[in-house]
Every structure is written in C-alpha cells, then in structure tokens.
Amino acid sequence: MGVGTRGGRVAPGLPSDGGFVSTRAASLLERAANWGRRYSLWPYPFGTACCGIEVMGVLSNKFDIARFGAELVRFSPRQSDLLIVAGNISFKMAPVLRRIYQQMCRPKWVIAMGACASSGGFYDNYSTVQGIDKVIHVDVYIPGCPPRPEAFLDALVLLQKKISQERPEDHPRPEPPWPPEDARPRGADLFFSAGT
C-alpha cells in the first residue's frame, strides 16, 4: 500500500480500515487547494452502457449530485477533472479512453463505476477489458451492476475525503503501460470449461 501501488485495490493515502487517522496534507495552502478541488469537481461522465443511465439518475433531481458540488458536467476532457467511466470498456474503446484521460488537465481523478469498469463484470470474454485500471489509473472503484445512485454518491464522498489528504507529489498518477502486455489468459487460468 502506498503511492504508485497497482496491485492493491485500496487507493494510496487511505488506511484500509476506512478511518482517516492522520492528515497528510500539511500546509494551509495545500489544505485550501484540496478544499477547493474536492467541493467543485467537474465530472466527465464517460458513460458507455447501463451505468450511464444510473449516472443520469444521479444527476437528476431525486439524487441530486449538486449537493456535493459536482453537478457541472463537462463532456470535454479539457474542461473536466473527474472522469467517471460508467459502463464497460471494450478493446475497441480502450485507446479512446486512454487518449481522453491523457487529454485531461491535472489534477485529475477517475472513478470506475460499476462491475464492468472495475473488473470487466460478468463479461469475461474476447471483447471486454477486464478492468479499466489496465488502461488508465483509477482512484475509486464502485461495485454494482449497476451501482445504486447512493453507492455512487458514497464513492464521490470517498473521493472527496481522499482529495482532502493529497499532496502535490500525488499528481500525476502513475499510468499503466501502453500498449499493455498481452491480455491472453495463461494456460490453466481457465478453472471451468463448462459448455465452452
């Protein structure tokens, strides 16, 4: 666990028990900058599939993401700082996602919404990337298929807490290599062969 770890799923800076014991952001300027950044996130809903409809539900009046300061959706990477990948990413879409992420200005954060974006979901097949963290860096993962809007808002609050503890050296985040290593399963990776 620590800055730059790709193996663990707990984002760097957060203790694994979920509590926030220490504040890493030291100076007043850093804390002020973090305060400004986390309460005015400008999301880019990169909605591809079903989770995109739940993002629309979060944006609309019942769940109202505006309470958290993040209602100003901007569909351009140049104008946004929070990339919400809502839906599965196919191999065809992966280079597009990577380019969009690179075109965003720093500091930037990524929420992987839903099972498909986090790990491929139940689409374990030839066309779905098994988790977008193979393509870009991810800050928060939301399980669910699709996750409820409350889960999304919970993830947003979690991201805000994470941002509150950031230091300048946390950006830019380490990116996975591109093009990625070969994605074919190795040998006895296939535990079950039912029906195939």
Binding site: S76, P77, R78, P95, V96, L97, R99, I100, Q102, Q103, R106, P172
Partner: protein, 119 residues
Amino acid sequence: MDPDLALSLVVVLALAVIVPGLFFALGRLSRERRPSPEGDVPYESGILPATDAQRRFPVRFYLVAVLFIIFDVEGAFVIPWATEIRELGFTGFVSMAVFVGLLLVGLYYLIRRGALEWE
C-alpha cells in the same frame, strides 16, 4: 475634458489591464509545466483528428461574419447617439436617420440577393 471623467477613465483602463495581467502572471508562476505529446493532441472525441483545422473555410462563414460586423458597428454608433439624444436635437436625429436609412437600403439588397440564406 472633465478631470473627474478623465481620472475614472484612466482607473478603469488600468484595472482592465492590471487585474487580468495579475491572474495570468500568478497562473504562470504557480502552474506546473509538464507538456506531453499525448496531452497536446487536439481533442476530437478521443480519436486523432481527421483533418487539421487550418483549412480553407467556405466563404459563407466570412460573409456572415462581415455582415455581422457591419450591423454591429452600426449599433455601436447608434448607442452613443441615443445617450446624448436630447443634446443633439433635430439635426442629430436627421443625420442618424440618414445613416440608418442607408444601411437599411443595404440590408434590403442583401435580403433580396439571398445573402442571409445559408445555402
């Protein structure tokens, strides 16, 4: 010219130059600089741009822009006249009417020629 008016004009101009200049300068100083080739590519929905933007545009765009400028400048002349309308009196009204009239003739010509239709 009235010295108070001149002073306020100078102050406004100074603020108009200094305040944005301050923002630019502060940004320049505090921003990180890490340009990357991937980040500088023009945005075209995630794909590399098909054509560059420095191509010859259809002449219709220029036509619309030129017409806009003409009538916008007309408006820019009308507004100061309208603030001093009492002082300028009847002669001022007649000269402004002639000015607007000439431009209306031009507008009528444009409409008849179809310059305001897009195709």
